[in-house]
């Protein structure tokens, strides 16, 4: 599944009759663990962004993200959205920007990062900071 497909999906608790918590704003990535760490969601136009840990997610379907009924979104941790982020190689040359990220919706593991200059395997990711996503030179 792709990050751009998940963005904007409603986040719904699995308990019957519960209303949606909000919509997915972005997914936070743990670069060292090569997986999704948080789901950031937005409650409304004027609401602040909140975050849910990946463990609270039960299933990601094509039209909804189902989360545990006990899950309460907490304040969003500091992090950087991968989509649109600048990519630099270890050697300091530009590698375009991130177009999309493929991930496994069951485990949250990253499968591939698609940049404007080609695909990057998750094993090559080194760090994600305020300036760029740093990747190892192939």
């Amino acid at each position: 599944m792709l990050f751009t497909e998940v963005r904007g999906l409603p986040v719904v608790p699995s308990a019957a009759g519960a209303g949606p918590l909000g919509t997915v704003a972005s997914l936070d990535v743990d670069v060292a663990g090569r997986g999704v760490r948080h789901v950031r969601l937005r409650g409304g136009r004027l609401r602040r962004e909140t975050a849910l840990a990946w463990e609270a997610v039960e299933a990601i379907g094509p039209s909804t993200v189902r989360v545990r009924s006990t899950a309460r979104p907490g304040p969003a941790p500091a992090g950087h959205d991968l989509l649109g982020h600048r990519v630099l190689t270890e050697g300091g040359t530009s590698h375009g920007t991130v177009l999309d990220v493929a991930f496994d919706p069951v485990t949250g593991r990253l499968l591939a990062v698609f940049t404007t200059r080609g695909e990057v395997t998750p094993g090559r990711l080194m760090g994600l900071g305020d300036h760029a996503l740093v990747v190892r030179t192939a």
């Binding site: 270890e90 994600l128 305020d130 760029a132």
Partner: protein
């Protein structure tokens, strides 16, 4: 062969950790007394109005000098810039504008820029020189800018750089041409054809 870059183009390049965070921008390049290698960089802050930083970046902390960023391993590896530039002066202060002479004493020109090797090497490979009229004859209207290789034995005397005679036998017109010249392909023969 790593990418060649002009030292003045390194100014304003961001200094990025391997974790992806930008720490500072490069203000100037510092090289050693013999103009043989880059020994570090002085830095400015990241904001629009932030001035020069008190910290300098020593070459030992640089992971790679790239086309779009200077990559460093550890953001805490910065040293005091005053200590770094006490014996080795930044480029702008010392090398730019220096006269280039040959060992025979003929004038080559004045230094406009310094060509350094990117990647992990950090060697100074040559100079971009505003050639004097006698060195590169041509139209009097426009001054010629040529790339002169550093050569093995360069001596610095005061503000002058003295190159060995055979280093200036071949010169290049542009940076790609200079790259192949340093890589072993002879550039254009200076002077009349044999």
């Amino acid at each position: 062969m790593n990418e060649l870059m002009a030292a003045r183009s390194i100014t304003t390049r961001p200094v990025v950790t391997l974790g992806g965070d930008a720490v500072a921008h490069v203000k100037d390049t510092v090289c050693d007394a013999a103009a043989a290698r880059v020994t570090g960089f002085t830095l400015t802050g990241r904001g629009l109005l932030s001035g020069p930083l008190k910290d300098g970046l020593p070459w030992a902390a640089v992971h790679a000098l790239g086309h779009d960023a200077v990559m460093i391993r550890d953001p805490l590896a910065l040293v005091n810039a005053a200590a770094m530039t006490a014996r080795q002066q930044p480029l702008r202060a010392r090398l730019l504008g220096a006269r280039v002479l040959t060992e025979a004493g003929s004038e080559v020109g004045t230094v406009l820029d310094v060509v350094v090797e990117g990647g992990t090497g950090g060697r100074v490979l040559g100079f971009r020189v505003a050639a004097s009229r006698r060195f590169v004859p041509g139209q009097t209207r426009h001054r010629r800018r040529v790339y002169v290789p550093r050569g093995g034995t360069l001596t610095v005397s005061g503000r002058d750089l003295v190159l060995p005679e055979d280093a200036v036998r071949h010169v290049a017109d542009d940076l790609p041409g200079f790259g192949s010249l340093v890589g072993g392909v002879p550039g254009q023969w200076r002077g009349s054809l044999p």
